[in-house]
Symmetry: C2
């Protein structure tokens, strides 16, 4: 390979200083319908109100764009997570907090993401909502399709979900309100914000 990393004059630290806060990744993991995107959205609003720059990377959005060549096989899901982690890392370098909402069902894939992003910058948040409740909500009608066999490799139906062994934050979205969940995250990341 004839490549070498370019070192740019303006460092991540300088960008963070301009923004007035540090950057890191808040990685949400959980079933479809567990509330990842809702929490991501509400967290972004809360951060924005504090003048904190964040950006949401979302499974649906990235799969319609940069990852539209990928399906839902185990291999493609791993590649999906790899690319998301690499993108998150670039946003980190720009001084932006990243909130990712991906089912990311495999411990090995989340470990890969953490290794790409860096341990110190990776906050794992387990959006813990029982499958039965997610399926009952079925906001997008996907569980019904998966049960009818119209969608293959659907997490929780015919594809595994491996919960984190020890997440940095665990949110019980079947019990706690969106606002309560956001406050739990904010309290947890507060110490990481200041430059």
């Amino acid at each position: 390979m004839n490549l070498r990393p370019q070192n740019f004059n303006i460092t991540r630290e300088q960008k963070e200083k301009l923004n007035g806060h540090k950057s890191f990744v808040v990685w949400l993991t959980g079933f479809s319908g567990s509330g990842k995107s809702t929490i991501a959205n509400a967290l972004e609003v809360a951060l924005f109100e504090r003048g904190v720059r964040s950006f949401c990377l979302d499974g649906d959005n990235t799969r319609l764009g940069i990852n539209k060549d990928l399906g839902f096989s185990t291999e493609d899901r791993t590649e999906n997570i790899r690319r998301v982690a690499e993108m998150a890392k670039l946003f980190l370098e720009s001084g932006t907090i990243v909130i990712t909402s991906f089912i990311s069902p495999l411990i090995s894939d989340r470990a890969m993401a953490k290794s790409i992003i860096g341990d110190a910058d990776f906050v794992e948040v387990f959006i813990n909502c029982p499958l039965a409740i997610c399926e009952n909500r079925d906001v997008k009608g996907l569980y019904a399709k998966a049960r009818r066999g119209e969608i293959k490799n659907f997490t929780g139906i015919d594809s595994p979900f491996e919960p984190p062994i020890k997440a940095d934050i665990e949110l019980l979205t079947a019990k706690n309100s969106v606002q309560e969940c956001v406050e739990i995250i904010l309290k947890e990341i507060e110490g990481k914000l200041s430059c």
Copy 2:
């Protein structure tokens, strides 16, 4: 496909307002060794000094990360540019100016990038430096390798470069200094900056 775009509560416009400037993409195209990364770097410094948020996407950097699965065949180069454009678009959504430094030798690939990013947000900058000068500089020793046949599909040697028919900005890096080039860009994009 069971995907639909997520609409997030904090819009690009709000993020731009928080930053105090609009976001768009400055797309640099030109031979290896023409000065793309140098100009990108100097432009970022100049913008940062004005409190403007920008981020550099670089061929070398992205190819060591998100695009490390891609080679230099025409097909892989196109996929490289597609992913870069999709990433640039995400940075736009975050309110950040993006400066891309990719040879991006084909008119069709740059047209694709422009179509992904959006016409209004795409500033094409032709880093126009004669091949002989780029080859003579040969900062990374790549032209020598390409001439010896050790690198295949090298732009200008055994792979074509299609100059823009009408770039938004054309920089003659063999004549003008880095600082002069940056000032030309700044003057051109000044009107696009204000919210």
